[in-house]
Each structure stands twice: as C-alpha cells, then as structure tokens.
Amino acid sequence: MTIALGTEAPLFDLPGVDGRNHSLDDYAESDALVLIQSCNHCPYVQAWEGRMIELQRELGDRGVRIVAVNSNDADSHPEDSFEEMRARAEREGFNFDYLHDEPQTVARQLGAERTPEVFVFDRDRRLRYHGAIDDSRDEDGVSQRYLRDALEAVLAGRDPDVTETQAVGCTVKWK
C-alpha cells in the first residue's frame, strides 16, 4: 500500500548511473526531494521524461532535487538493467540522479505501483504530494501541472492544493 501523506521518506543507499552510491542523506540540503518510481522500458515514462528534465532544470536552483528510481525486475525486462539505465541516462541527457533499486526495497517502502509515480517530500522529508506528474501523457494536452504546483507550494512552505492524484503508467515489475 502506498505510504500516507506526512510519512517520512524511506532510507536508501543505491547505486546511480553516475557510478556513485546515493543515500537519502546526500540530499539533506535540498528544500524538496522528488522520488520518481521510474524505469527504461515504459512508454509512459518515456513520454514524461522530457518534463522531468525540464523541471529539474527550472527548479534545481531553488532547491529541488529529482531522483528517479528503477526497481523493475531486469530478468523479465532486460531493458531495465543497470547497464541499460546508464545508456539511457547518457543518451537522453538526464540531469537528475537515476538510481537502481535492484532489491526493490525502495519501491516496497514507498508502496509504488506504477512508472512513472511521483513522491514529493518537503524540507523535513515528509510526503506532501503523491501521484502523477501532470494530467496528460501528451504534453500538448496538459492542463494541470500537479508536480510543479506541489513543488511551488512546498518551496513556499504551504500545503499543495492537490495532494494526491492517480499515477498513470506501467506497473512496477516485481520479482
């Protein structure tokens, strides 16, 4: 079951495509931390990736860190292996950390079900928004920018107007 609003971010220490391990403490200076359950193979993830890059570019200087986490079983979906993650991050020019949750611990702790699925944690690392990035896979059809609005609220120290939406995407591929 997905974690409830107000829940603390899970502790983690996972390898990233940059060749380093990244833990929750590494982001201690950030005013907002966005964990996105993600992967390589899913067309929904691919459709939203550009917006993830854009958000990190626009809000990075204001203390926002986006961290994508791939927990998918690479045996059933070889496109989601760590090697393929590194290749995709380089090819697509990811400006956010992309971590490999091979034991699927973070996905289970978050209660994630879909890719992409967003979890926004505030300065105290409490969950303030959970769900979709926005309301349309097609960028031209977006009318509600849930993640951006939630981040603006968190950075301003207030509650987001919308705190939960339904993430639309592929299922997490459990072992």
């Binding site: 193979h41 899913c42 067309p43 059933s76 070889p78 896979r137 995407g169 592929c170």
Partner: protein, 100 residues
Amino acid sequence: MRIEILHWEGCPSTPEAVELLETVLAERGLLEPIELHEVTTQEEAERLRFPGSPTIRIEGRDVDPTGAQGRPSLTCRIYNLPDGRVSPVPSRQQLEEALR
C-alpha cells in the same frame, strides 16, 4: 476483415487504443467487430508473438510491423510516432495505413 487487439491488464492503454481504433473504423465506414484477446502469461506472449500491450492486428498483420519484431513480453508496447515522440498507442496515421 479480422481486427484484433491483444492486450495485457498491466498496461492501462487498452481503452485508449480501442477508442482510437473504433473512431478510425467508423470514419471509414467499417463496422467490423474488434476482437479483444487478453494475454495473461509469458508463455502465451511467446506463442502469440506478443511484443507488448496493446498489439493491434488487421487481418493478422501488425499495424506497426517494425515494433512487431520486439521480444515477446507482458509489458506496455512502445509506438514511435512520426514526429519522433513515443506513445503507448499507435498513431491514427498508423491505423489508417494499416486499413488501406
């Protein structure tokens, strides 16, 4: 004309694919029924050469012959659109070409 949609419940794009296909069929005056077949196991995916959900076949021919060559798997299928974007459903253009 036999029109099939092979789908897997783990991918949410089936209703959108059905709606798009129904629209394209109606515009062409085609009243053919759409056969929906749910793929539930990896073994079935391999037997049916199912590269992901949804897979649409017109008279047995995939509407995206290139993507049809993908590894059989219970997964969401990726369609490459003419404008370079990717989509979990085929483009209207792909469906129209497949129906010609």
